[in-house]
Amino acid sequence: MSQRRGGVRGLGSRLYRGETAFDFVGKRWRWFLLSAVIIIVGSISLGVKGLNFGIDFKGGTSWEVVAPHVSVDQARSAVTPLGLGDATITVLGGQTLDVEANVNSGAAAHQAQVKQSVTNELASVAHVQPSQVSINDVGPTWGHEITTKAEYALLAFFLAIAFYITLRFEWKMAVAAIVAVIHDILVTAGIYSLSGLQVTPATVVAFLTILGYSLYDTIVVFDRVQENTKGLASTGRLTYTDMVNLSMNQTLMRSINTSFVALLPILSILIIGAQFLGAKPLQEFGLALFIGLASGAYSSIFIASPLLAMMKEREGRYATIRQRLSARGEAMTLLTPAAAAAARGSGSQQGALVRAGSGGGRGDRSRQAEVDGGAVTGDGGTPHEDGAAAESADGAGRRPAPTPAVRPRPSSNRGRPSAGRSSPRPRKKGKRR
């Protein structure tokens, strides 16, 4: 049992200290496949079952009344004689009675009469005044209007976001980010179709939030990728893929924290607002957000970034780097954020990153700390800047990367703890010292 707890805690503290080096890009096909399966299943369901649209989209009337002591059956037997035999009746949070039906047929006067009598009947069942019954009456063309508007808004959203990302970063990032967002839309729509959950305006709001979150996440990772890859082509010691992996590991703790923090209010909406207090929009909203947040976080990490890496590797300059490195058998360099940081701290920003890999483990970092400390005292209290220890670091950086610098492909790594970034041995050694 201690084994397992130790493992979990180990991962937690490795994350906290930036000692993870997951190969997100390398295992991309596995994630792409998983997403493809979910999307294909969802698409089939969308084609066969479609979505369960609420009255705001297809027209109809809903009545809501606070009636803690009225059961669905009681409500049904009350409204069935009025011609609402096919009404959808639910009780929310154990106290709000919700009746939905489409009475938008027949003469206008007849419709109004039916609606009024349903209102009166529900009021008498719930023992309240008719004015205490909330009514939402939606004409048949309204749904078409809001659907059209939503489509335009979505299109404009994509264009504007693509334009912004292209301007701020580059068009390949825009493509990757938007593919990830479309992925989220398809996954969420598929889940909604499969589960038969009702699509309401609140769901649409939630849906748009998901797009925002998903993009937000992706942008944070891409911003780091862009920073890390500046000047990469000229130094040429790491492939673009390596840098994407490093960037993702560097922002992993942030992604986890952010997703968790975003999840807390949503759980609160879902559990407290919807379940205990029975607010209908809160329930619709919470469910959609819950699905979407998971999909958004997933797509930023497993779809957007690997896709970006694939597209960028096709560019001549990065392809050259990869070929050169793989010719030397140094194809996959997995850096931990901590190792990258240690390298950066010791020398010039980019050039040192490769050398950073060289240590990988503990020994290198403590050595680094000594160098730093020395530099500061040696300079007699001058500001500690990047260049302070640059001489020695750059000198080291210009050497061809020594063998331990390069981490072999994970598949061939088993049983070679000396190169492992997180293997238990070096850490134990560190503690013993």
Binding site: V65, Q132, A156, Y164, V205, T258, I272, H384
Partner: protein, 491 residues
């Protein structure tokens, strides 16, 4: 260096809390949407595409009707091509909706006599005679009949075309006793406001339809040299004197018009009552009970969510977590102040989707802190002093936050412009929170973290220690010395 930072931080606190204090002092509170306080809402869509001025005209007619209902804070707005009427807190919801949506007519009625402003009869005085108002025999057409002062105006909805009515003139205290309607607005073919070639003030030119022209000439002959009132929706729009017996299909109305009153009358003549045929799209009524319950649910969910986030931030980031909590409190104070102010000045209502937008924005707001603090950890890991990490970390983190917030903001802005209904409120509050996030991150989080970074209490103390967990990474027990010595080195 220390002073400007302190100024920033204190300035932000003063501005945020000051704004909150100001709106509280003024007694402003967020205007609640009708889904949170109960009320009625109707959406109308024109049956055909109509020009802007017709839609605006329809809205002003509806606004007059709503004002007559005595709803405290009605909100009548145009969203896309739709007209949305929101009547928060209205008591008799069904009647209100009926009255607002009914199609009124433009009538031409002969003026019998003029009445003074209404004054309620003093107690003990005889009540005015019931039934349709009529001028006393002494008052001829166009003259003021003082006995009508105690007769109330004909209520809206009772101004039937067949009976005598007593109606007020628009923007004036004058009232008229009017006979049964002779013609309705359908005889008018077109009308426009213009300045006559001879100079002088504004006038309204009109042309009549081919079937309307003889009818109007008939009216002119019967009422030659008398006033004819143009009535819309229980209000006399104008009461010109007929100065010709034959109009030949066109005429002018002159008088003391200015540009806007002439244009307004022209619009009314052109479009008649409601200038567009409006189809009811949605009707929503929310009972006060349900509204209160939703508000309660939203508030509790939001506060619990916020509390959990704060606890997690403190547990995870220790001293820095306290900055997050302070920042969230300031953001909340500023948001409350802005929402209250806009609710007071622009009638912006906080509805349930807005509450949801705000709850969701907690995540985005906290993310800025997380981006910054994780960046800070990176910098410290790379062996920099806390002091230099704080500055460098902020610069790169702020760049990230700006990029990511820009995406959120663009999304919110587009949704706001292009969507309808619930989505709009959501987009507004999400966009507002995103803006506040950027402001607070720059003006509060940045100076606070720098100041905390300079304090040894916060960086090294056992429980508060920001750098503690990290320093021990870079160098476990024995190696922590260099890290500490760096922290103490003067910069």
């Amino acid at each position: 260096m220390r002073r400007p930072l302190l100024v920033w931080a204190i300035g932000t606190v003063v501005v945020c809390l000051g704004a909150l204090g100001a709106v509280l002092g003024l007694g402003y509170a967020p205007a609640l949407g009708l889904d949170l306080q109960g009320g009625a809402s109707v959406t109308y869509k024109p049956a055909h595409q109509v020009p802007q001025d017709q839609l605006d005209q329809a809205i002003s007619i509806i606004r007059n009707r709503v004002d007559a209902l005595g709803v405290a804070e009605p909100n009548i707005s145009r969203e896309g091509g739709n007209i949305i009427i929101q009547l928060p807190g209205v008591k008799d919801q069904q009647r209100a909706i009926q009255l607002v949506g009914q199609t009124a007519q433009l009538f031409f009625r002969p003026v019998m006599c003029t009445a003074p402003p209404y004054t309620a009869p003093a107690p003990g005085q005889p009540a005015p005679p019931a039934g349709p108002p009529s001028c006393s025999s002494s008052a001829a057409a166009g003259q003021v009949d003082p006995t009508l002062a105690s007769v109330p105006s004909t209520p809206k909805g009772s101004d039937t075309s067949q009976s005598n009515v007593l109606l007020p003139e628009i923007n004036s205290t004058t009232r008229f006793v009017l006979g049964p309607a002779i013609l309705n607005g359908s005889i008018i073919k077109n009308a426009s406001a213009a300045v006559p070639q001879s100079g002088g003030g504004w006038q309204v030119n009109f042309t009549l339809t081919s079937s309307g022209s003889p009818k109007f000439d008939q009216l002119a002959q019967q009422n030659y040299q008398k006033q004819v009132a143009i009535e819309l929706d229980g209000t006399v729009q104008s009461a010109p004197t007929i100065n010709a017996q034959s109009f030949g299909g066109q005429g002018q109305i002159t008088g003391s018009f200015n540009e806007s009153s002439a244009k307004n009358l022209a619009l009314i003549l052109r479009y008649g009552a409601l200038p567009v045929q409006l189809n009811q799209q949605t009707v929503t009524t929310v009972s006060p009970t349900l509204g209160r319950d939703s508000l309660h649910a939203g508030l509790v969910a939001g506060l619990v969510g916020l509390g959990l986030v704060m606890l997690y931030m403190i547990a995870y980031y220790r001293a820095l977590g306290v900055i997050v909590v302070a920042g969230l409190v300031l953001t909340a104070a500023l948001l409350w102040a802005i929402v209250s102010y806009l609710g007071h000045s622009n009638g912006l209502a906080l509805d349930l989707s807005g509450v949801i937008g705000i709850i969701v924005s907690i995540g985005i707001t906290v993310d800025s802190y997380v981006v910054y603090f994780e960046r800070l950890k990176d910098e410290i890991r790379s062996g920099k002093t806390i002091r230099s990490s704080v500055d460098r970390g902020f610069r790169s983190a702020f760049r990230t936050v700006l990029a990511a917030d820009a995406v959120s903001f663009i999304g919110a802005a587009i949704l706001y412009w292009l969507s309808v209904g619930a989505v709009r409120g959501f987009a507004f509050y999400l966009g507002l929170s995103t803006l506040l996030d950027v402001i607070i991150t720059y003006s509060f989080t940045r100076p606070m973290v720098v100041m905390v970074g300079r304090s040894r209490l916060f960086t090294e103390a056992r429980w508060l220690g920001v750098a503690r967990g990290l320093a021990s990474t870079a160098a476990p027990e024995p190696d922590s010395a260099p890290a500490r010595s760096r922290a103490r080195t003067p910069v």
